[in-house]
Symmetry: C3
């Protein structure tokens, strides 16, 4: 597609947007600016470490920030460009235009096994060897990829996509447009056992998992149902791969949980919470709106709204940075201390 046509797919581009079409190159793909070649689109953000790459990129077109010197440089290099407030967002839109998603055709594969009591909406795709249990409700336009298993009493609102080998256990409720990636398990039994004199006694897990609209769950992630009540993931929350969410956890809207995060039973996250990779959250901890935990931190008790925490046990990030720097000087500190002590004796 010509660069000029591509522009029509970018929501932020209007008549007033600064641009330079140059030879209006044919764009057949996209790449990072430092790796892009002939016919490829790339983008550059303000303050990016990749700014220098603009001078050398082999790409044919670039989405630029509102920064005139960069625009001038791009023009001099003969690149086609447009300038926008959010080049990354425009790049996402351009990728969708260049690589339109191929939706699987509606229809139920003959090898799928659908319980007669299940209700299947319009335009639904059910892939090979998928299994849909009793009393399931599949909303319009949902896609179940091959090998998906839905136990009984699972409900998906419109437009959900469930990838190959994902499993939705009894009682799972998915809002509109949820995406469950391969190997994820939603609604499995929470890890609840009562200690008795003859060993562990299972606490029945009779609750359910609710994913609100637009939740995305990564590959191999697990979200357990509780003994009573709900495990609830707030709308627009995005969960990466291999994340564990224990029984009875609730999160607010728009959280982002990076890979290998673990959240123990009963923890409560506010809106917009961001947990970096391998963070752990203890039983019944509470995390306020828009708080951020850096990778590998371990959270007990309470984190206030807007706080940035690090370390284990997690403390304010700024303090942690100073403590960590001091940690690396501990042998030196110990030596100094011994000297001072010797001098005093």
């Amino acid at each position: 597609m010509r660069f000029s046509s591509l522009l029509s797919h970018l929501s932020a581009v209007d008549a007033a947007s600064p641009r330079h079409l140059g030879s209006d190159p044919e764009i057949h793909g996209a790449q990072a600016i430092d790796l892009a070649g002939e016919g490829q689109l790339c983008f550059l953000e303000s303050g990016s470490g990749l700014t220098a790459a603009l001078a050398e990129t082999g790409g044919s077109a670039v989405l630029l920030p509102c920064d005139e010197p960069l625009q001038q440089q791009a023009t001099e290099r003969g690149l086609a460009w447009v300038a926008l407030k959010d080049p990354r967002l425009a790049f996402a839109e351009a990728l969708d235009a260049l690589h339109p998603r191929v939706r699987p055709q509606p229809g139920i594969h003959p090898t799928a096994v659908i319980d007669p009591s299940a209700r299947i909406g319009a335009g639904v795709h059910v892939g090979a060897h998928a299994v849909v249990g009793a009393a399931a409700v599949i909303g319009d336009g949902c896609i179940l990829h091959p090998g998906v298993v839905l136990y009984h009493d699972v409900q998906l609102a419109e437009g959900c996509e469930v990838h190959a080998q994902a499993v939705l256990q009894p009682g799972s409720r998915l809002g509109r447009g949820c995406v469950v990636h391969s190997g994820a398990v939603i609604g499995s039994e929470g890890f609840g056992f009562v200690p008795t004199s003859s060993g562990w006694r299972k606490m029945p897990q009779t609750g359910q998992v609710v994913l609100e609209d637009g939740v995305e769950v990564g590959c191999g992630s697990t979200i357990d149902r509780p003994s009573v009540g709900e495990t609830r993931i707030g709308a627009d929350t995005k969960i990466d791969n291999l994340v564990h969410i224990g029984h009875g956890v609730t999160t607010g809207r728009g959280c982002a949980l990076a890979a290998q995060v673990g959240i123990a039973g009963g923890a409560r996250l506010g809106n917009g919470v961001i947990l970096a990779g391998q963070v752990g959250v203890a039983n019944r901890a509470t995390i306020g709106d828009r708080a951020i935990a850096s990778s590998k931190s371990g959270i007990h008790g309470e984190v206030a709204a807007g706080e940035v925490v690090s370390g284990y046990p997690a403390i304010p990030n700024r303090l942690w940075l100073r403590c960590s720097a001091a940690f690396n000087k501990l042998p030196e500190m110990a030596r100094t201390l011994r000297k001072l002590q010797a001098a005093q004796d």
Copy 2:
């Protein structure tokens, strides 16, 4: 079910158990005491942080500890109640009574693929698209949910339940009443490679995994078989989601391993060991009976029976608590040290 009927399902209730039936309410479900509503059962333990909730609960009935003031308060509030030594255990029994498990019907789904050499016991359920390999032995009353794959030479004793998409690799042996949750993989090849001048050479993994009676393995957890000998999980050990257990590990009876724990090859755990979330155990470490490791700790070498350890490398929990508190004061300590040094110079 009436509260009076529910009592007949609680093993600890006898004629002498203190109780107050009140209006003998109809109980149709259960909830936590602070969330319970009309017609719901809840419970309260001695010393629980939820004690204050008794004054406000909307529930209709409550399982109480042996504590007369609480009992009096419940009566005054018009709640039906019974008092027992272990209200949590009674709550587990009540949940089973209120939500009886629906066992899938015995029978083999027509889409299941069973090797002719497999031996299938009485009353076994094999779900859609399950695959049972050569020489497998499935004990009476086992349940294989849809999509389960058993490689050749797998043996399940009576009453095991294997959830959708779990995989049992060659040689796996499961004792009575084991539960394997969705996506778990039992008996996969251990991670063993010999370094050679031309790269890694696979060490064949010819051993097997043995789960003793009553073991439960969480979603997505993996238990590897060793090059020789066994990986053995002791009876009644409960394993949460996304846990990795390396080749040749052995655990005692009744251990509890929380989510995302990783245990490297050859480690040995005693009886009743508890590892909290994201704990790591190094190659050939040994952990004594009833030792406890708090979340995210990393264990090398040896932990004595009954010890509670924390941190990485793990040290006794009490010491670690003090060291962690001091860690947060490191910048201050460094400043003090500089002042003292300056004063001395």
Copy 3:
């Protein structure tokens, strides 16, 4: 098989290799030296902690290092033995001889669902309920175990083995002799979202995952594809269970990544990098050739070639060992500091 026959399977054994056949025992299996019994082979390495076990082993034959006292001891105990430079490597070869791999028969199971546009090589085995998507290319001699799902446009070179329930997403490219274990997901969408005023906007993930020749991916591990370009795993790299590799990561040849390692998007590893269990690597970090990170360490920024690092944030291992030792004495240091300060005041 007689011990003398077994020797013919060991590549390092020649006419000059020191040996003692004794009664040339029949060898029917193998075990660790401290557990071996009648008819079992074991091995011993130089400097192994198991050296003392030679005096007591119940095994019938042992692969020894080039160490005459050990050889003499073995002869005196009546053990059959051979001495080699690398007994562990020979043990691997012996295990292959004692337990020859049973390759599934070539052929496509009648329940497998193969898109008509897929090209299937010679001698390929496709197990029950496997699904092969459009335009897939399966090289000669590949094995797809039951329940494997290949999305469209997946290519496997010759001799790959994909275990039950693994999923290869669109665009995945596997080199010769790759092994993908059960539940692993290759080529899933990277975790990329653009923050907007109305919530997270998915960054399309249009790139692909490339596994070079001889890569092995453990159970439940996930390797994401990037928005543009490649995620590339270098030849002969071995990946353990439950490892997460983010979008756009590249690794060199012969790396070893232990269980539960997490590598965030865009990180770059050199050749021969070793990451121990539960290590985390941050976005865009770079790790030089043959660097090693000990378990649970967290890597940001850059690690030089050949370095050994530990801790979080990771620092040189030697420094970390000293800092960790000092950490355990922090309460004592704090006390000393208070005393010194009091004395000065």
